[in-house]
């Protein structure tokens, strides 16, 4: 019984030490995120990729304001593929 009491005491001190260290460690991590990382985020923000209309320009130039044949072909291809895919289940029914 004494040995069990001893073990309970050891478990109690282990729990106390364990929970204190877990909270302290993760608490320090909060501090790290809110200070170091937050400062880094302000100093080095993500680069926003410039929006380029290179492909559109190219196509527009080619057709002088009209929609290029390549885009028309791509759209009609996609539409027909979509119709095929969505028509099959109905046909089966």
């Amino acid at each position: 019984m004494n040995s069990m009491e001893q073990q309970f005491l050891e478990a109690g001190s282990l729990m106390l030490a364990g929970m204190v260290v877990v909270f302290a460690f993760l608490g320090l991590l909060i501090l790290f995120i809110t200070t170091v990382l937050a400062k880094l985020a302000v100093t080095f923000p993500d680069k926003i990729a410039p929006i380029t209309n290179r492909s559109n320009k190219k196509n527009n130039k080619a057709t002088s304001g009209e929609i290029s044949p390549a885009i028309v072909a791509a759209i009609s291809g996609a539409v027909s593929r979509y119709r095929q895919q969505h028509a099959e289940p109905n046909l089966k029914k």
Binding site: M4, F8, L29, D46
Partner: protein
């Protein structure tokens, strides 16, 4: 006639022992859970099959020189497999939600109460005749409350290798049962109004923050808890490979091929420990029972901590996300989201719950490091 007799003696039928048959049935039970019920199939399937293989009479899979014996000694006893898996988990983890809302780290810390409270349960079980857990064994059992398979296996091999089979089975079984164990506890500890709380949208996190985060975690572990560096270090390596964006091939390998190969071998190796003499005893029942207690206490502590934070914080916090602090990524976060949606169909808590969920992974690795440092 002598040849026939010799042949008969070399068959499985002539050599089967009752314990082996029972353990094969246990293995088949794990296969059933994996295949029919989809309970952690990635690990329970190879583990169940490993249990069947190791109990085949005469074949000697787990005896010296046997295939499973090499797998166990080479990969599990050395701690290599759990660490490789931890690297893969790191490569799959996005810390964005945690960095956006760092307070959720406290939820991951609170949920570790389950681990340390279970120590008492394991020692209390010593009052039962036939059970005698030392503090090392109690610590290895308690880590089941961390709901983290690789961490549980890593610690069990270091502190109580003789209990590895039962601990691994309990850890993965309860992780699979998260959607069943957690919701009643979450509902019992929260009011409907609390479950309806909608949380503010998370800020966007920059690339530099995500790159520096794993390095910062590693530095802190080196300074304050070097015993946890094997687990945390491999986790951070995987995460840095993911976030740096310069080693996509390595990151992809860690997330896919490497973790898959290791999972197969880890499952087989753990299954090889499911022998009759190691598993069929009253201690296993105790371990299975303690696992459920550990999980429940961890869930409850997380929810109660979130309730407290909601009371003290100016920004509303839905207490349900506290339950995700028990690791079990991403299942626990999904459960928090599901229970939240039941109360408020417009409340999507998944991203908010991912913060405490990944904090739980770190928390359980830190707890394992503490147990190793103090008991190991």
């Amino acid at each position: 006639m002598e040849s026939l007799n010799k042949l008969w003696l070399s068959t499985g039928l002539a050599n089967f022992e009752l314990g082996q048959v029972i353990m094969m049935l246990v293995g088949c039970g794990l296969l059933y859970l994996a295949i029919a019920r989809s309970f952690e199939p990635l690990l329970l399937l190879p583990m169940g099959f490993g249990a069947v293989l190791t109990n085949i009479p005469v074949a000697g899979f787990s005896e010296v020189g046997g295939f499973l014996s090499y797998v166990y000694h080479g990969g599990i006893e050395t701690g290599i497999f759990p660490l490789i898996i931890f690297m893969g988990v790191g490569a799959m983890t996005d810390f964005g939600a945690l960095i956006a809302n760092p307070k959720t780290l406290l939820l991951g810390a609170a949920a570790q109460t389950g681990i340390f409270a279970t120590l008492f349960g394991a020692i209390a079980l010593n009052a039962v005749p036939g059970i005698e857990f030392t503090l090392r064994e109690a610590s290895a059992i308690a880590i089941i409350g961390g709901a983290d398979g690789p961490t549980a296996i890593f610690l069990a091999t270091k502190l109580a290798p003789e209990l590895l089979g039962a601990i691994a089975v309990a850890a993965y079984s309860y992780m699979a049962l998260v959607p069943i164990i957690q919701p009643p506890i979450m509902r019992a500890l929260t009011t409907l109004d609390e479950r309806k709380i909608e949380m503010a949208q998370l800020r966007s996190v920059t690339k530099i923050e995500k790159i520096i985060f794993p390095l910062g975690v590693l530095m802190m572990t080196i300074f304050f808890l070097p015993a946890a560096t094997p687990l945390v270090g491999m986790f951070c390596l995987g995460n840095l490979m993911r976030e740096s964006g310069v080693v996509d091939r390595l990151s992809s390998t860690a997330q896919n091929e490497l973790i898959n190969i290791t999972t197969i071998l880890l499952g087989l190796g753990v299954g090889s420990k499911l022998s009759a003499e190691a598993f069929l005893n009253i201690e296993t029942l105790g371990i299975l029972g303690l696992g459920a207690v550990a999980f429940s206490i961890g869930t409850a502590s997380g929810v109660l901590m979130a309730k407290l934070m909601n009371k003290l914080s100016k920004v509303p916090i839905n207490p349900l996300i506290g339950a995700a602090g028990v690791s079990a990524v991403p299942m626990a976060a999904r459960v928090a989201n599901k229970v939240g949606l039941e109360a408020n169909p417009h409340n999507f808590l998944l991203m908010h719950a991912m913060g405490p969920n990944v904090a739980g992974v770190l928390g359980s690795a830190v707890a394992a490091g503490i147990l190793l440092a103090l008991v190991g």
